[in-house]
């Protein structure tokens, strides 16, 4: 089956399929069941196509698809490498899961404009795939902006004043940083090197003195210009984007948008600067510490959040900084850790968000303080939440353990021993702000916010459950299983990603 299309064809079709699906969704505006059916079919087809591409990359192929020549030396083209293949696989795979979840959530909460919602979603997938497969900085930039714009409509989905304000901050920061910082960085790269193709080993090495202040400036432009990576202090769009419906938060802000950002950081570090050049220049040290500070500060802020989604959002900021940290460590273990974190965090955070959404659908609760005793009513949801939390914290047997492990090794390799301490401290903070939620849900009485249950509750029965609809439970179940599976599949993942660090 996988041999039906060549990888090049599959790439084109994979980009075209969501667009076609979008058209179908638009036409099926009046028939919700057909519409959702189209969404699921499209997601499935896209995933299948991406799987073909992924498979070919695993076998060592590097398919290329040139599309347009926008300017001489400035073309719109795609080229695959393992990191992009991984990202595209995650994005398209989780689209299926998320579509299932969206159906449950959107119907459960009776949202308006569902057609527009699914259309924008499809568009965002195209943008994410484009980012994943971009062969040069310009293609990356184009799809980066496309992702911002298509998700803007999702963030402001509710259309009320609050949503618009959040959307404005979202768009303002993402657009602002990309135009004011990323674009000049890209142009500077073009001017310096005469091209912006992502090339193994980086392209700046020959054309720039590594100790020049330009390296530092350029790196700063990239790191802050890729606003989606949410490195502090330009993270504030992320919590503000939580006004969106939960599936959007789950998918786009745990997977597509933020991962597009850190993926970009990783790619710039690997293929524009080159890890060797970066570590020799010394410019990365500053950003290692900015990332480390982001990790700690965001975790600290997360602890103070009562709104569950906000807490998860700050947790995301913290976790994303792990990836930036990995990129900036600029050695093989750091890169490996960062890359793995892209996959692991996606599954873990997705689970958490979907559970949060399920809680909202079933009980309309958004504040952590209101969730005491809720575990009795929603044992499955909170059970899944627990698994997701463990993965984020980085405890075995969850996949989330591995990136932290590799990052610590990388930090040691880079001689940044303090970073190991930072990572450890962060894990402790994670334990506090994430595990407290299921503990509260399971062990506290519903109406007592202050301590453990004083009166023995009546024995729990299966029929006490008041869970969210089935379609809101199945997806987090899938991702939770995924986190566990990845713990055991890490060897394959390592092998797949090893070309990034110079391995075969």
């Amino acid at each position: 089956m996988l041999g039906l299309f060549s990888p090049e064809e599959a790439m084109i079709y994979a980009l075209a399929a969501p667009l076609l699906g979008m058209l179908g969704i638009m036409l099926a505006d009046k028939a919700p069941n057909v519409r959702e059916g189209i969404t699921l079919i499209t997601a499935g087809v896209t995933f299948y196509l991406v799987l073909i591409v992924f498979n070919s990359v695993a076998q060592g192929a590097r398919p290329e698809v040139p599309l347009f020549e926008m300017m001489p030396g400035l073309s719109l083209s795609f080229k695959l490498e393992p990191l992009g293949a991984l990202f595209s696989l995650i994005a398209s795979g989780l689209w299926i899961v998320n579509s299932l979840y969206s159906i449950g959530y959107m119907r459960g909460t009776n949202e308006k404009h569902q057609t527009r919602f699914y259309m924008c979603f499809a568009l965002a997938i195209v943008a994410a795939l484009g980012i994943a497969w971009s062969a040069n900085l310009i293609t990356f930039f184009l799809f980066y902006e496309a992702l911002t714009l298509s998700t803007f409509l999702l963030v402001t989905h509710k259309g009320d004043e609050k949503a618009m304000r959040g959307g404005n901050i979202y768009l303002g920061i993402l657009m602002g940083t990309s135009i004011a910082l990323l674009l000049p960085a890209i142009v500077l790269t073009y001017v310096l090197t005469g091209g912006g193709d992502f090339t193994e080993g980086g392209i700046l090495a020959g054309s720039l003195d590594e100790h020049s202040w330009v390296v530092m400036g350029l790196l700063a432009l990239y790191m802050f210009g890729i606003g989606k990576a949410a490195l502090m202090p330009i993270h504030s769009w992320l919590p503000n984007a939580m006004v969106a419906p939960t599936p959007v938060s789950a998918f786009l802000h745990a997977v597509a948008v933020v991962k597009a950002g850190v993926f970009g950081v990783m790619k710039v570090a690997l293929y524009i600067f080159g890890t060797d050049f970066l570590s020799q220049s010394g410019a990365n040290i500053a950003f290692i510490w900015i990332a480390a500070l982001s990790i700690l500060l965001a975790s600290a802020i997360a602890m103070a959040q009562d709104n569950l989604k906000a807490r998860l959002a700050y947790s995301t900021v913290s976790q994303l900084a792990y990836i930036s940290l990995g990129a900036m460590l600029a050695n093989s273990m750091g890169v490996m850790g960062g890359s793995m974190q892209i996959a692991m965090h996606a599954l873990g955070k997705m689970t958490l968000f979907m559970c949060a959404g399920a809680i909202y659908v079933a009980h309309h609760k958004t504040l952590v303080s209101e969730m005491s005793g809720l575990g009795r009513k929603m044992p499955i949801t909170f059970g899944l939440f627990f698994i997701g939390a463990l993965s984020i914290i980085g405890l075995p047997p969850m996949g989330g353990m591995w990136p932290k492990f590799f990052l610590m090794v990388g930090a040691a390799d880079a001689g940044q021993l303090a970073i190991i301490f930072v990572l450890a401290l962060s894990s402790v903070l994670n334990v506090i702000y994430l595990l407290s939620i299921p503990i509260k849900a399971f062990y506290m009485a519903p109406d007592n916010h202050h301590g453990l249950a004083e009166i023995e509750p009546p024995p729990w029965r299966w029929s006490d459950r008041e869970e969210a609809p089935f379609l809101c439970l199945l997806p987090p179940l899938l991702t939770a299983v995924g986190t566990i599976a990845l713990f055991f599949l890490v060897g394959d993942l390592y092998k797949f990603l090893s070309p990034l660090i110079g391995g075969a």
């Binding site: 926008m70 300017m71 001489p72 184009l142 496309a146 714009l149 004011a180 674009l183 142009v187 001017v191």
Partner: protein, 503 residues
């Protein structure tokens, strides 16, 4: 008649002869159809001419058979060949659009005279573009300017402020023209010739007060015509109150031609060995940057969309001046590229606004509420054109902004680098003011106020014309290579005229 040999003069003779004939046509549709056909034919001629210039190099044509310093010569190189093709393309798209729009805004009886004025304006702009004679520039500039004043004033049927706007435009434009002609007089005093190439040859080595004063007068006069920053005040009201189709046409052509003439005088007539040039270029750099910011900031506070777009035009002229002021082939090429691309985006935007004006009778921001629901084709066309104006990748605006940035960084040195960052900063301002409109368009339909009644879609012809422009934005955003090669070559030919080659 040898078609190819006579080709250079045909694009201007055709509309020039067609204009008076148009006055005799019966009122109604006939003048419009006539003007449209003429515009299409002119566009075809311009394309053939551009192709000829691309293949055979610069073409000269002696008017009346009198050779250059004695008579008037046409001289078409890639730069003006390109501007010519641009103007006639805009006309070929906007004139069909004008039909339904003008029917609504201009009295039935006036249609023949109106289209006559439009054709004269068109012919004047083309004449300015392809001539190689400095005084001939003035003559045709006057034809186009006079008809422009009238066309702007025709907006009075909708909003009487058009009369005041046209009057201010007339006063400013006339001052500009006077300055320009004083400059020409001084140049003639210093050289005894009016032909551009001849002027350049005889200006070489002249560094006296006559030439300096001439330079200052010409630059100031043209600065008025192209709405350079402190001299821009006529533009926003004129564009805002003119009839919709006129705004679309003028915004995409008139200032572009003025920018081209400025380029022509700077690089062909005066040239690099003119010692005053570098001072002027520094001046342009400052004015360009100031224009980008002042006008963008002004645009942010406009509730009238046409006014907002007009201010944005002033800002975009700042970009072009910035490119020109770099004084490198890349810089000038980027300026030219932005000139072309900006014509596409502004034409599309003003055409979209025109559709709204036709159906809702207003170009206030409040009329745009819920437009995406009410008039989806218009609204989304406008969104794409706005994205192009903001420089979102995948659109023409991105390509020219990229080229401008590249040229500034490439020039090296602190000032151009800072200018590059200022470009991106000011385009952020563009994002802000355009986002305001887009947001309003995406909102649900208003429930109260004057714009609640349902509206019919704008006529198909208007939507098609609008989308031709929108697609041009996308096409040149994805396949900008040809255009870039064209502007590069045009710029190097334009600047290569200079013998010293002070690059």
């Amino acid at each position: 008649m040898d078609f190819i040999a006579q080709l250079p003069v045909l694009p201007v003779v055709l509309p020039f002869v067609a204009a008076p004939l148009c006055l005799l046509l019966p009122a109604g549709r006939a003048p419009w159809v006539w003007a449209t056909l003429v515009a299409w034919a002119t566009f075809a001629l311009s394309l053939i001419l551009l192709e000829q210039v691309w293949i055979n190099g610069t073409i000269s044509y002696a008017m009346g058979g009198w050779s250059a310093p004695m008579g008037i010569a046409y001289r078409i190189d890639l730069t003006n060949g390109m501007v010519l093709a641009l103007i006639s393309f805009v006309a070929a798209v906007v004139f069909p659009y004008a039909g339904p729009s003008v029917r609504d805004e201009i009295a039935h009886k006036q249609t023949p005279a109106f289209y006559t004025a439009l054709l004269l304006c068109f012919a004047g702009l083309i004449g300015v573009t392809i001539t190689g004679d400095a005084f001939n520039v003035f003559v045709f500039l006057e034809i186009s300017s006079l008809s422009t004043y009238v066309l702007v004033a025709m907006g009075a049927g909708r909003d009487r402020r058009a009369l005041t706007a046209a009057f201010n435009y007339l006063v400013m434009g006339t001052i500009g023209a006077t300055f320009f002609v004083i400059g020409l007089g001084l140049l003639y005093m210093a050289t005894g010739t009016l032909n551009m190439i001849d002027l350049h040859e005889r200006l070489v080595g002249q560094d006296n007060r006559v030439v300096k004063a001439a330079f200052a007068f010409i630059v100031t006069g043209l600065g008025l015509k192209l709405a350079m920053l402190p001299l821009h005040l006529w533009l926003p009201p004129a564009y805002s109150y003119a009839p919709s189709s006129i705004t679309a046409f003028l915004a995409a052509t008139a200032t572009k031609v003025a920018v081209y003439i400025m380029l022509r005088f700077l690089y062909t007539v005066f040239g690099f060995d003119f010692p005053f040039l570098s001072v002027a270029l520094d001046f342009f750099l400052i004015l360009g940057v100031a224009g980008m910011f002042v006008a963008s900031l002004a645009a942010m506070f406009q509730d009238d969309i046409k006014m907002m777009l007009a201010y944005s035009s002033v800002a975009q002229i700042g970009y072009m001046l910035l490119g020109i002021s770099l004084g490198t082939v890349d810089g000038v090429a980027a300026g030219l590229l932005h000139l072309v691309n900006h014509a596409f985006m502004k034409a599309a935007l003003f055409m979209a606004v025109g559709c709204v004006v036709l159906r809702l009778g207003s170009h206030q921001l409040s009329a745009f509420q819920g437009l995406a629901k009410r008039m989806p084709w218009t609204a989304w066309g406008m969104v794409i054109a706005a994205m192009s104006l903001a420089g979102i990748p995948g659109t023409a605006g991105f390509i020219s902004k990229f080229a401008l940035l590249q040229a500034s960084f490439d020039k090296g040195g602190l000032t151009p680098t800072i200018a590059g960052f200022l470009i991106v900063l000011s385009s952020l301002l563009a994002v802000v003011y355009l986002m305001r409109v887009v947001r309003v368009m995406l909102q649900p339909l208003p429930e109260s106020g004057p714009f609640t009644k349902p509206v019919v879609r704008p006529p198909l012809l208007m939507r098609v014309s609008l989308w031709v422009m929108v697609l041009a934005n996308i096409y040149f955003g994805l396949q900008g290579g040809g255009l870039i090669a064209l502007t590069r070559r045009a710029a190097s030919i334009l600047m290569g005229v200079d013998a010293g080659g002070a690059m």
